[in-house]
Amino acid sequence: MWKVAGSVRVGIPRGLFWYYAPGSYEVFWEALGFEVVQSPPTNREIFEEGLRLAHEELCMPAKIFHGHVAFLKDRVDFIFIPRIVSMMKRRRKRYGCPKFMGLPELIKSSVPSLPPVINVDIDLAGNSLDHAFLSLRNSLGLKETAIRHAVGEMVNFERVNTPYATLPSDNEKVRIGVVGHPYILYDPYLSMNLLNKLSSYVSDYLTSAEVPRNVIESELRPEIDLYWIYERELVGAASFFVNNSHFDGCLHCVSFGCGPGSVIMEIVERKIVGRKDFPFFTLVMDENIAETGLLTRLETFCDIVRMRKS
C-alpha cells in the first residue's frame, strides 16, 4: 500500500495486549520507519467513550480498549491490533483469552468510521514471531528483510525473565503479593491507582507480572495447571505468594465479567489457599466501583496483614 513509509502514522492503543509487551510494538513500527502514535494512559474521556461504544457485557478493560481506539481513529492512518492466540512456544495447545483472539473483529464491528485495522496473528504455539509479522508483506507491501530486522528489534517481546524481578529474601518487611492482569494493575485509571495506594499501606509488594517465568512454571502442579497463557501467570504467582514465607498476604484483582478470571478465582481460593491460614483477598473491579469503597477494603486488608505479622 505505502511504498514510502516516512510520514505514515500507525496507532497503537494502550490497552490489553500492549501491557504484555510495553514498548516493543512501538520499536517494531519505528524500525520500519513509521510514525507511531500512541493513545495516552486511560483518562476520563477515553473511559467514557469506551463504555459508550462497547458491547455492555464485555469486561471493563476490553470496553476501555474501545475508547483507546476511538481516541486514535482520527489521528492515524491505520491502527495496529494484533490477534494474540498463543504466546507460548509449546507443542501442546495453549490459548489466550478469546477476547484477545477476536479483538480486531470486535473493534471493527463496534467502533464506527475506523481507519484500516492492520492485524497480525501471533500464534507462537505453531509459528515463529517472524512468521506472524511477515503477513505484513501483503497487507502493507513491506520488504521481508525489513520486517525480520524490525522483529529482531523487539527484544522485550516475550517476558521470559522479567529484568526487574528480584525476589525478596528478607522477612522484616510487611509484604503482599498482588495477582492480576497487567492491563488492570498497571493502568492507574482502571485500577484507581491500586499499586500506589498499596505502597502507602504496606512496606513492599510484588505483582504477578514481576514473578519470573521459571518460578511460575515450577509452581504449576498438575491440579492447578491451566491452558490459558495469561492465567498461568496469575495462578502460578498466587501459588508462589501463598506458599512463600516472605509474603504476608495476597491480593487478587479481577475485573467483573472476566471469563478466565471466574475460573481462576475458584482455583486459587479453593485449591491454593484452601484451608490455609493465609490472608487472601479478591477484589472485583468494574466500571461502577467507588474509590472510597476500594480504599476502605484495601485498608482493612492491609491492617489484617500487618496485625498478623506483629
Binding site: H55, E57, L58, R83, V85, R92, K93, R94, Y95, G96, C97, P98, K99, M101, G102, E105, L106, K108, S109, S110, D121, L226, Y227, W228, F256, G257, C258, G259, P260, G261, S262, V263, M265, E266, I267, R270, K271, V284
Partner: protein, 370 residues
C-alpha cells in the same frame, strides 16, 4: 459404581446408552429446574456462565440420587467448558460430597481413556458397540426433534406434536441394542405424518444460533423451540445433540448447511475460531439470510466469553445484510415474562416485515402489468 452426569437437552438418551453398553450403571438426574439451579448458584463463582451453574445443579441431584462417580469431559479449549469438570468436582468436594471423578481429557485422550478403563473395567470391544448404539440413538433423537419442529407450526392441535415427540424419545431411550432400532426411522416419520395439519399455513422461519447449551437445553431457554412451534414459527437450531456429541468424528460437518461450509461464510467476519460456537453463530446468521429466513434469535449465557465477541459482529451483519437479529443474554436471573415479551414483539416485527415485503412485490407486479 453408579455414574452421574449433567443434562443438556436430550443428551442423556445417547450418553446413557453409551455408558450402559459399557457395563456401567447410570444415575440420570432429574431434568434441570429452577430449584436445582438455585441450589448450585450458591456455590458457584459469581460471574461464571450459566451452563456451569446449571450443570452443577444436575450433579448435586445425581449425587443425592445415589451416584458415587461423576463423569465429564475436559480439554485444552479456550472456552471455560474445558474446566467445568475440574471446578464442579472441587466445588462438590468442598460441599462435603464424596465421589470418584472420571474426567475424559480430550487434550490427552489415550491416557485419560486408560484411567477411565482402569476405574470402570470396560472392554475396548464394548466401546465400539457402545459408540455405535449411542450414534444411532442420537441420530434418531435428531430426527425426532427436527420432525417435531417442522410439524408443530402446521399442527391443528399445537400440543399433539410435543406428545408424539415425547413418546418417540421414550421409545428410543428404552431400546437396548442397535437391532432393536431397526425400522424406527420410518416409524417415526410416519407417526409425524399422521398428525392433522393445516398445510396452507405460511409460518415464519427463524434460525436459532448461539452457545450450544443455551440452544439445546430447553430449561435454559424457557422451552423456546416448543414455544415458537406452538406460535406457528418454523425454527431451526444451528446444531443438535448428535452433531455436538460426534462432531470430532465429523457429524454434521459436511454438506450444504453443514458446519464446514458455514464456517467458511463466517471467515470474512471472524477469521479465527475463538473456541466456542462464535464462528458458527456468525456463519449461520449469514446462512439464514441466504436461505431466506425471516430472522435470527441469538442466545448466550451472561458473560459468555466467545459469544460476547460474536455478539457485536452478529449485529453488524444484521445491519449489513438486513436480517433481524434478537439477542438474549440469559442466566438464572432472567424472568420468562420479559423473555417472551421480547420474543413476541420480535415475531410481530418479522410478520410486519414480511407483509410489507409482499405488498411491495405485489405493487411491483401491478406496475409491471401496467
Amino acid at each position: 459404581m453408579r455414574v452421574g452426569f449433567p443434562h443438556m437437552g436430550n443428551f442423556y438418551i445417547p450418553f446413557e446408552a453409551l455408558l450402559k453398553t459399557l457395563g456401567i450403571s447410570v444415575v440420570v438426574p432429574p431434568r434441570p429446574s429452577r430449584a436445582s439451579v438455585q441450589a448450585a448458584v450458591r456455590h458457584t463463582p459469581e460471574f461464571i456462565c450459566f451452563p456451569m451453574k446449571s450443570t452443577l445443579g444436575d450433579l448435586i441431584c445425581a449425587l443425592e440420587k445415589g451416584a458415587d462417580t461423576l463423569a465429564w469431559f475436559e480439554g485444552p479449549w479456550s472456552c471455560r467448558f474445558g474446566y467445568y469438570g475440574r471446578l464442579h468436582h472441587q466445588i462438590l468436594r468442598d460441599m462435603g460430597y464424596r465421589f470418584n471423578s472420571l474426567l475424559l481429557n480430550s487434550g490427552d485422550l489415550m491416557t485419560s481413556l486408560k484411567d477411565v478403563r482402569r476405574a470402570t473395567r470396560f472392554r475396548f470391544s464394548a466401546l465400539v458397540k457402545a459408540l455405535r448404539l449411542s450414534w444411532h440413538k442420537s441420530k434418531l433423537v435428531r430426527l425426532t426433534e427436527s420432525l417435531s419442529r417442522s410439524t408443530s407450526p402446521y399442527g391443528k392441535t399445537p400440543r399433539e406434536t410435543t406428545g408424539i415427540a415425547q413418546r418417540t424419545l421414550k421409545m428410543i431411550r428404552e431400546a437396548q441394542a442397535v437391532r432393536e432400532l431397526r425400522g424406527f426411522e420410518s416409524k417415526i416419520v410416519s407417526s409425524f405424518k399422521l398428525i392433522p395439519k393445516y398445510t396452507e399455513r405460511k409460518p415464519l422461519k427463524i434460525m436459532l444460533v448461539g452457545e450450544v447449551y443455551m440452544v439445546l437445553e430447553p430449561e435454559a431457554n424457557f422451552h423456546l423451540v416448543e414455544y415458537l412451534g406452538e406460535h406457528q414459527v418454523l425454527v431451526t437450531p444451528f446444531t443438535s445433540i448428535h452433531n455436538w456429541m460426534f462432531r470430532s468424528i465429523g457429524a454434521g460437518k459436511r454438506g450444504r448447511g453443514g458446519e464446514n461450509a458455514t464456517r467458511k461464510l463466517a471467515i470474512a467476519h471472524l477469521p479465527y475460531c475463538l473456541g466456542g460456537e462464535d464462528q458458527l453463530s456468525i456463519g449461520y446468521t449469514v446462512l439464514a439470510k441466504k436461505r431466506g429466513y425471516d430472522g435470527v434469535i441469538h442466545v448466550r449465557p451472561f458473560t459468555c466469553m466467545t459469544e460476547n465477541v460474536a455478539h457485536p459482529i452478529i449485529h453488524q451483519i444484521s445491519r449489513e445484510y438486513d436480517i433481524p437479529v434478537l439477542s438474549f443474554s440469559l442466566d438464572e436471573h432472567t424472568e420468562s415474562v420479559g423473555f417472551f415479551t421480547r420474543v413476541e414483539a420480535f415475531l410481530e416485527i418479522l410478520d410486519q416485515r414480511r407483509k410489507a415485503r409482499h405488498q411491495q412485490s405485489s405493487i411491483h407486479a401491478v406496475r409491471f402489468t401496467e
